[in-house]
Subunit: 344 residues, 2 copies
Amino acid sequence: MSNVELSSFLGQWLPRVEDEMKNVVTQHEATVAPHYGMMRYHLGWANEALQPQLYPSGKRIRPMLCLLACAEVGGDPVQALPAAAALELLHNFSLIHDDIEDGDEVRRHRPTVWKVWGIPLAINAGDGLFALAFAAIQRLRDYGVASRTTLEALGIFTQTCLTLTEGQYLDMSFETREIVSVNEYLQMIQSKTAALLGASTAIGALLGDATAEGVRQLQAFGQASGLAFQIQDDILGIWGDPAITGKAAGNDLLRRKKSLPILYTLNHDHVGEQFETLLDGSFHAEQLPQAMRLLNQAGARAFAEAAVQAEHERSMAALHNALGDRAEGSTLYALAESLLNRRT
Amino acid sequence: MSNVELSSFLGQWLPRVEDEMKNVVTQHEATVAPHYGMMRYHLGWANEALQPQLYPSGKRIRPMLCLLACAEVGGDPVQALPAAAALELLHNFSLIHDDIEDGDEVRRHRPTVWKVWGIPLAINAGDGLFALAFAAIQRLRDYGVASRTTLEALGIFTQTCLTLTEGQYLDMSFETREIVSVNEYLQMIQSKTAALLGASTAIGALLGDATAEGVRQLQAFGQASGLAFQIQDDILGIWGDPAITGKAAGNDLLRRKKSLPILYTLNHDHVGEQFETLLDGSFHAEQLPQAMRLLNQAGARAFAEAAVQAEHERSMAALHNALGDRAEGSTLYALAESLLNRRT
């Protein structure tokens, strides 16, 4: 399937995911309306006065992966709609809490939920969205999915929730540590990002009636694509064009973000100590060229690009195992390529 | 069944609930051990250094209600163990977050999770426990419960999670409001406390293979018992003997806690304004006798006691509908009575 077919598929199905999500996050009794209003605000459906208004929302990558996996193994995407909605709601619950935990004040160019309504109400709104994500996936039964299959999807979903909290734990624990190894970092992004992408493809495949092996391979595809995407993002955070990434040049370095190229350089035998001394304390914008030199000396970009390539190859191998010769013509292939910003 | 039989039942089953909970909150990879350690600390199984140590934990009322309901409708409590564990884990997740939201620094005579590890890690540990509660209830399948019944239990469980967040929303929203009506207060405790107790008996009955009507009646029993218990607690918070309640005399008044007797008096036609003026601003311990006089003038105690009595009668009627003539001899009856501190 080509990019055109991918666009057409998404144009048809993403609005239905949005409707499914809205059916779950419905207006309730007036007394608790603001509780749901905060969730709708976060999802891009309401303004700060909690009145209906549409804002740019996330890319809905998880629902896309779920629906595409279902379709590619020969299933009817309708049956995967409740799961697609649940995956996006789960992702958004975790964003509401992550924003509190990381102290982030802006998301998608709008103040975060906690910034507008305070931490206590924001924690609770996140919890409500967490519960609604579980309600959403249980609607699979209403779509005619067998009880046993619904429970199987729920099992993957629940394990992934837990894994997300492990990833967030690791991410936070890194902040108080002097040094974090490359492997520890990879475990963190596997848990925090890749696991949910893998769950999205796995659940989609399951609902499309794939074999157990097919589910496993598409899960591996989702996870490896997620890792590739995240590491690519780390590369762009340092060497990306600010005009395209929308992030200020050197932003990741100035924030001492523990991204792969930075950690690789900090752990480097020759320049590690020098890099650490430079980033310590009063590191400022004028020292950016010096930091870039050390990154280059360490070969951080080549290392990260090799890691992206390795994960990309892993994801393609899994896709081949799942779909055979159809792999390279599939919408999942097109989506993975477009996420990596490659022009094929 | 007598109190002796109740004690014997609980002596046999509560340790098995504890084992089931421990099987769910197991030690994971070393890198994320502290994430699970915080949960074990909160559950009373570990100290601040996250080493195994036993502390007084909660009363495990929800698991008790679940197992007793299962047994009283003729089921095998073994089959309800995963649900009993899940209900207690859910309750404890909500306590970890409530403590953050309410700024409470002590629970069960120990520092709260956020007080020891900070708000970000505590939010995330609560989220992990939330996910584990969902993992726990899905173990029903491993205990031989049919997929369809497991999903039915999950449906009640999920709806109750959402209701808990609504109750917590109401509770928090009351704090910023001048006046809260008695009915609004009752809706709050229904959502925040009674709903989960009702879910406990409902799920227990369901797993004991009760009829749909039996499930409904035992849910009503659990909810009404929960309301009676909560309002009784409000009464003790003002007129209870500090030596027995463990709370300082006048504590609820000095904290301006929005409890039923206080709200009833604030809303009272004759003394409401005077009571409000008294509690406003610089209310202190020496004014307690004056506050008590106003509460008495309003008839707040009689009103609250009548509310307890009404809920108690409602719970007994539901129990009769569910169990017929066995109601008064049942362990559920004995438990409800003992929760109200009545000597039968």
